[in-house]
Symmetry: C2
Subunit: 664 residues, 2 copies
């Protein structure tokens, strides 16, 4: 619902007000024809129509349109209605085509007599089985209800909802640099826009803000958004995860197609089917299975929703664990467990063996699935028996997962003292980023993948993301060594990267870089840093901004739902406030340079750990804890040569190269 | 030119003779619509027209058609003419459409009065710049000339040509099993069909026998056909290689597109541009550069055509060497030279590091290019200076190639005593071929590439091909160990494989397997062993049959053009005769169980080596050399577990696995 008012001030005038509803997707504007070159991050610019017109009709001034998507057959209906409030003389005209509804008001406006047009629109969508006329009928019902309730009430409800959202999700920052608070709020607002009404349909990488990546869903939801939702709006987290649960059968079929047991979720999808074209950077990202399991556990842990984990989520945990157990294999006298031919988060490497991130997340997946199964067996033997029968599950299989997890290969290079991104990663030449001209970035638009794969160069955090999500598996020294190795060779050509780099930079002591990386994430769209905000907002990055604020500067960790803090307030900041969930209780944290304050806002509260010390947060009084500093503050990293043992790698350790004459 | 005769014997009858010329490619037969599933080895079944009709006309009974290929714009013209010889009453009718020329003869045939129709057809083709009307005019000139010369003379000339071909190319076999000689001759005849009139256009993988792989050119020509041509019809070898020379500029541009110096020849092409869609099994086969350099050297060596090498071939040798020098890199304290992210001949592995075959062939390429440049500098300093200026070549660059060659990484696994196909190959699980059902072969039609890549399993000879082409780099013991490792895990899903396996089996002492593999190659089309002969004859395999006869059973090697023999006549055979080239001289070899005879047929002759002994073949008298046996004869290999140190690998050494429930 939106309203427009015009009042002519001095003397009478002719006013024309035009209200349109357009199917922009299937227009062929000149701009489209001008696109030169291919950018995989944009919508592909479909050759044929995307929305096939199914119905269009006008009924008592309401214009309704029904479409079906050409490939997947999904249904869509939209109805638009107008109310006119004016004392001027008006003639009204409507026009409808398959892709356009236009209502034109020609007003003889007298001075001082306002004209107000209120525009109501309602959308309904459904699967390929849905009846388009029914969808259209639903939009009429929605409009009927809304108009009965009325404009003022709707606005009020919306304000209430937003007030509640801000109370729970807001992060307050007092920084010496201007614009930080505004950028943070902008990101949080975008998150509300993208997630609040996803309603079991998945959250597109651009939310509903643009056509980039054709509105498809990737792992962004699970890794970048669910933690935020779980801590602020847990019921949205659960609803989002249900979207994956609904896709389980399609994921089972996909696993069969890849000759695997269990389920393999699509890397890119709109309806449960794999929609990525190039499998080395698509299907090979098997880690999505573990990402989904991770997100389900994360939600259940911080919300204390064991019931969700042991009922709805359990089949997903089981089938994803099955995939890993089947796909990996035990090898050698020490019987270590290997996972081959996968692509990790960093798409500048593809189809590698024992990717650190994948193996760590698969291990988590295997462990948590086994734990969930055994917990259910203990708590509810009857239902366990049922579930085991339905899923064809035996104790032997489940202990097999634990064995695979225990034997999981975690690549580590003794001499370098770093975890290789994958088994072969350190054998490559390092891409000479110091001598790569700015106009050759992002690399993916200027170099053939075969060229990029030949180098140590990262599109985005991969090992560094593992240091964050599976941080309890590493010592601080290991994290610092890994960060020092990977940070200099990470281009950040993906917007998923900066926010993660910020978190680990803060943890290991590179405070200036942490803030720099955070600012990249916070301003990626406001400053159009990747020059593609026109294709839509980077929702995962916006989620990552919350992560960087809470996990990075707040220093929070929530492994298994247990909350700990080791704050890293930037020197330029004097205050940071955020909310988080402690096993279902809502707590507010306020961080200043010399103390952190916890206030219980909802629920019974409990214990958080602050730099190893247990802090009880119960009752209504804020708990103030003094802080002695904000961790290490190392001199910032410079250049693009990876560090080993705290110094730039020597030419004997890594050679640096640049491909010849890159393609234009 | 072809003729059909009909004579009605007993009483008069109405006879209708129809002669057609059809563009089958652009017909839409029902058969096409029935194809289920995708087979990359077939022609893709183009959605749109391939040949765009440019002209069609009838002139004095001749029907001419002109086309242009839709994508590449190549020109094609064909003219068909008919002569009728009969004393019967005849009415003639012609019909022409864009894709069909039909001439119908309605004959009131009297008993004993013959009807003969002679059909003449001439084709002309040309590049995208060619004028189709000119091409059609050329076909008319060809027909005019042919008709002036006349049918009998044309037949005679053809017979002469074939007699000459058989004299030079025939291989005679006396075997206890029937059909061997026939199969061999059939292969040789197919080679004549495919190569004799290629005329600088490249040799399609199906010759002119079918539409499989859309008539595209791959490495088959250089590795499987040029050795045969060089030893039998050297001028055809040279003409074939010129086709690559003509593509050098396109290959330079392709190297630029892949950010490399030098030239990168397309893995699959029709006009010099890369036509492979999936780069991991296409462009990543950089080895094609080395294959082309190899073939040029092979031809020049055995034909003593140094002039070709130092003039026409030199830019190709230089630009391919450049690619390797640029693409590889020196690494580590020992400064070994590494080539990453390539795919070797075996397409069941893709985008690997230090593929044995690629590195060995690249080393050959680098060495021979340097040698050619320095030879030219020595022989003709003036022309060298010119060439160096044209190619922007310095002595430093050329010595750089020699350094790269000397430092080339040759992967070798000390404990297994085998050369890994690539750096990671031995780390994979072994595909359990013993338990793979027959209906799941070939693997490429039943499993996703990501599944296949995860295993030690070969589509075709890779390391084993290296043992053949770069055999001088290995000891016999190494070859045996490598053969014993790879033979059990090679599916032979490519027809390029069996003939190569046969050669190395013969060399290392697996005589029974050598013969088995040979028979697979010899009968691949006659017995339709791969069930796709309908898409066209396997020309490379036919070339490989000659290789298996001469290099395998004949035991010939021709490194650098020096000819040596270590014969391996199968126990079931009593006689093998073939011709070969010794630095330009033509020699005939005749092999029996207890001797080999060399007869100089043309040229001054020279020295061949027989099991280490130098044999002078000069003058007109045959040289008879007694043989003491035909090498080792080991018990045949069984099962599909690779051998290490002569026994099946243990589960501690390799684990064996099978993917779950393969996709249907």
């Amino acid at each position: 619902m939106m309203s427009y008012s015009v009042t002519v001030l001095d003397e009478a005038a002719a006013v024309v007000m035009v209200s349109e509803l357009r199917n922009r997707q299937d227009e062929v504007p000149e701009a489209k024809a001008q696109v030169v070159g291919f950018d995989p991050r944009k919508a592909a610019g479909f050759e044929n129509r995307v929305l096939l017109s199914q119905l269009q009709y006008e009924e008592q001034g309401r214009m309704s349109f029904g479409y079906r998507t050409a490939q997947s057959g999904l249904g869509l209906a939209v109805t638009v209605d107008h109310e006119l409030f004016t004392e001027n003389a008006v003639s009204v005209e409507s026009r409808m085509t398959a892709d356009l509804g236009r209502r034109t008001y020609r007003v003889r406006a007298e001075a001082g007599r306002p004209i107000m047009v209120v525009k109501w629109a309602a959308y309904a969508d459904g699967p390929a089985t849905s009846d388009i006329a029914n969808l259209a009928a639903m939009t009429h019902l929605v409009l009927d209800d809304a108009q009965v309730v009325g404009r003022e009430v709707l606005i009020e409800e919306q304000q209430e909802w937003l007030a509640d959202y801000w109370e729970k999700a807001d992060v307050e920052v007092v920084a010496s640099t201007p614009g930080v608070q505004q950028a943070v709020r902008w990101c949080l607002f975008e998150l509300a826009q993208a997630t609040a009404r996803a309603e079991g349909r998945g959250i597109g990488v651009k939310g509903v803000s643009g056509a980039g990546y054709e509105g498809h869903y990737f792992w962004d939801t699970e890794v970048y958004l669910v933690p935020f939702l779980a801590h602020t709006y847990p019921f949205l987290a659960r609803r989002t995860l249900r979207f994956r649960i609904a896709m389980l059968d399609a994921a089972r079929a996909r696993a069969r197609a890849l000759s695997q047991r269990g389920a393999l979720f699509p890397w890119r999808t709109i309806n449960g089917s794999e929609a990525s074209a190039y499998f080395a950077a698509g299907t090979a990202q098997y880690h999505i299975d573990a990402d989904i399991a991770f997100a389900m556990c994360k939600y259940a842990d911080v919300s204390d929703d064991l019931n969700f984990l042991l009922t709805e989520a359990l089949p997903v945990l089981v089938e994803t664990a099955r995939l890993w157990a089947d796909m990996g294999f035990f090898r050698g006298a020490e019987r270590s467990f290997h996972i081959h031919s996968v692509t990790g988060p960093d798409e500048y490497s593809a189809v590698v063996n024992n990717n650190l991130y994948t193996n760590l997340m698969a291990r988590l997946n295997l462990r948590r699935a086994a734990q969930a199964v055994f917990t259910l067996a203990e708590l509810d033997p009857g239902r366990y028996a049922e579930v085991a029968a339905t899923l064809d599950l035996t104790e032997t299989e489940v202990t097999g997962w634990q064995e695979a997890a225990s034997a999981m290969t975690i690549p580590y290079h003794e001499w370098f003292g770093v975890h290789p991104q994958d088994e072969d990663f350190l054998n490559r030449e390092v891409w000479d980023l110091d001598n790569t001209p700015q106009e050759k970035l992002p690399l993916l638009l200027h170099y053939h993948p075969l060229v990029i794969y030949r180098f140590q160069v990262l599109k985005q955090a991969d090992a560094i993301l593992a240091l964050f999500l599976a941080g309890e598996e590493f010592t601080t020294e290991q994290k610092r060594a890994d960060y020092e190795y990977y940070e200099p060779i990470t281009t950040g050509d993906s917007t998923l990267s900066a926010v993660v780099q910020s978190i680990i930079a803060a943890e290991v002591g590179y405070q200036a870089r942490a803030l720099e990386s955070f600012m990249e994430g916070a301003f990626v769209d406001l400053a159009d840093l990747h020059r593609n905000t026109g294709d839509g907002v980077h929702i995962a990055s916006a989620g990552g901004v919350w992560n960087a604020l809470v996990y990075g500067f707040g220093g929070m960790r929530d492994y298994n739902g247990d909350i700990s803090f080791d704050p890293r307030l930037p020197q330029e900041w004097s205050y940071l406030r955020f909310g988080f969930a402690l096993h279902g209780s809502r707590i507010r944290a306020e961080l200043t340079p010399d103390r952190i304050t916890f206030t219980l806002e909802d629920g019974p509260g409990g214990i958080v750990t602050l730099r190893g010390q247990e802090i009880e947060v119960i009752g209504s009084d804020p708990v103030l804890v003094p802080l002695f500093g904000q961790g290490l503050n190392l001199p910032t990293l410079t250049g693009h040569v990876p560090l080993v043992h705290g110094r730039p790698a020597t030419p004997e350790e890594v050679t640096v190269g640049l491909p010849s004459e890159p393609v234009e």
